[in-house]
């Protein structure tokens, strides 16, 4: 990885809900042109971390700087340059693809929204679906539309929660290749939360493994595999998580 200024700087980030610590003293950077995976078992703190990076959840302590700005104080200055996609958040199902993209183009104040929508439609092969209501699309088609919405403002920071969940291998590969080309073109920092280790290995230059709210391991996929004497990232992940659970 080249030494570029970080897009995201997280320092000693902690989130407590009463007595329960969901995220515990996280410190990490996300650099441009780099895809980072946030891995962890269910309940490890991934969604809580992503929620704080999006400004949806206020941290208990710690700081988040995005594009050099304090997220807590300048959230609305940062959000036009960020976007996200998650299978747990839907777009309005009764609106057509075109209507959804028009609405979000306005919410992000995209200049020349018509051209942008045309470009995205071309890139993500949505032309034939433009006038169809979202509820009439397949899971794979909905994922492409969700991705189009996530890219409507050409974000410099993209947060993806399970981007290829419940997709067939062909569509999943297609999405991954598209994201790679987008990142090459835009120098975007991508943060990916995923349970798909093969996907993480293929896409990511940096991996953080979380358990019980902490980052317990970090490095490139190859570094982690070598460090733990395993043959693939899934085995490495299982070893790290199980060791962490035993120590607790």
């Amino acid at each position: 990885m080249t030494d570029k200024a970080a897009v995201v700087e997280v320092k000693e980030l902690t989130k407590k809900f009463g007595d329960f610590t969901a995220v515990d003293n996280l410190t990490f950077d996300l650099k441009p042109h780099c895809t980072t995976a946030l891995l962890g078992s269910n309940g490890a703190g991934k969604t809580t971390t992503i929620s704080m990076l999006l400004g949806l959840l206020l941290p208990t302590t710690g700081s988040i700087h995005i594009f050099g700005e304090d997220l807590l104080r300048h959230r609305f200055k940062i959000l036009p340059r960020v976007n996200m996609s998650s299978p747990y958040i839907d777009l309005p199902q009764r609106l057509t693809v075109r209507e959804n993209l028009k609405v979000y183009a306005k919410l992000y104040e995209v200049k020349d929204a018509k051209s942008r929508i045309e470009q995205l439609t071309e890139d993500l092969e949505l032309k034939e679906l433009l006038n169809k209501q979202l509820r009439k699309l397949s899971a794979g088609q909905k994922t492409r539309v969700s991705l189009a919405k996530a890219l409507i403002n050409e974000p410099e920071l993209l947060l993806l929660d399970e981007p290829t969940a419940s997709l067939d291998p062909d569509t999943a590969t297609w999405i991954r290749d598209y994201l790679y080309r987008y990142q090459q073109r835009r120098n975007t920092a991508i943060l990916l939360a995923s349970h798909n280790m093969l996907e993480v290995h293929r896409m990511c230059q940096q991996v953080f493994i979380m358990t019980h709210g902490k980052i317990v391991e970090r490095g490139t996929p190859e570094e982690l595999i070598t460090r733990h004497n395993k043959t693939d990232l899934e085995q490495t992940f299982l070893k790290i998580v199980r060791n962490a659970n035993r120590q607790d």
Partner: protein, 263 residues
């Protein structure tokens, strides 16, 4: 404040209405049914009660103004509920849309939906009951405005509850305005109520509006004080509702509730 972002969110609700004839039907159906029902009740009462012979349009006007208030409130809450039902709230909150722009969009859509609901009812009243709402004159616009603003106040309060408590608070959207209805003196004077409830009634803008409406019909007198009281109370309640929304929104961000609005 960004007119582009506000109009973007308004576009979302307009597209939804355009795509869903049941939603459009529902907006028009209830005010019209209310008007027709009460119109016939009024017709009957005119023949039976001297009071209503003196002011035959009194009941129908009360029905229409009540519906303006109810529609203003429920349309506000419904727009926000659409986001919860469609699980789209997370997308809105991670966009550059400010919370006050969300409120502004929903306010403007609430006006549009109220007009779509009430205008057909008023048009039907003309041939069916020989009733012209415009006969109220200039005060009508002010009554309408004061009631719509109070509907926004209760609507914002409901949105604050939904942000904080999620879909579990959905029933409040329907209950709240009906809970207040008996003490808003819609169909009867305030002095019909027990003394303690009279004081509560006068703390609500609608009671002043409906009293003013009755004075206009029965005494042929326009009491400006009723309107002044109503608008002053509207201002107070609007400020309190916005404060409640701010507190709820901040609390929801602290507790991570913006992404999880299910029960």
């Amino acid at each position: 404040m960004s007119p582009t972002r506000i109009s973007g969110l308004m576009l979302r609700y307009i597209y939804l209405l355009r795509s869903s004839w049941p939603r459009m039907m529902e907006i028009i159906f209830w005010p019209t049914m209310q008007l027709v029902t009460w119109g016939f009740i009024s017709k009957h009462l005119i023949s039976e009660a001297p009071l209503y012979q003196k002011a035959p349009s009194l009941l129908i006007t009360a029905v229409i103004l009540w519906d303006v208030l109810f529609r203003s409130h429920i349309n506000f809450a419904l727009s926000f509920l659409e986001e919860i039902w469609s699980r789209n709230l997370g997308n809105l909150f991670v966009s550059p849309l400010r919370p006050y722009e969300l409120i502004a969009s929903i306010t403007l859509i609430s006006i549009l939906r109220t007009l779509i609901g009430v205008i057909p009812a008023c048009l039907i009243a003309l041939p069916l009951f020989n009733f012209n709402i415009l006969g109220l004159g200039a005060p009508l616009i002010l009554y309408f405005l004061a009631l719509v603003i109070f509907g926004w106040c209760t609507g914002i309060l409901i949105v604050a509850m939904l942000v904080r408590h999620g879909i579990a608070a959905e029933s409040l959207a329907w209950l709240t305005i009906f809970l207040l209805a008996p003490i808003m003196a819609i169909y009867y004077p305030v002095d019909v109520l027990p003394p303690i409830l009279q004081n509560i009634a006068y703390s609500l803008p609608p009671a002043h509006i409906f009293e003013g409406m009755r004075a206009l019909f029965l005494e042929k007198t326009f009491h400006a004080q009723n309107l002044i009281n109503a608008f002053a109370l509207d201002l107070l309640y609007y400020a309190l509702a916005c404060l409640a929304f701010h507190v709820s929104y901040t609390s929801a961000r602290k507790q991570g509730l913006l992404l999880n609005t299910s029960e």
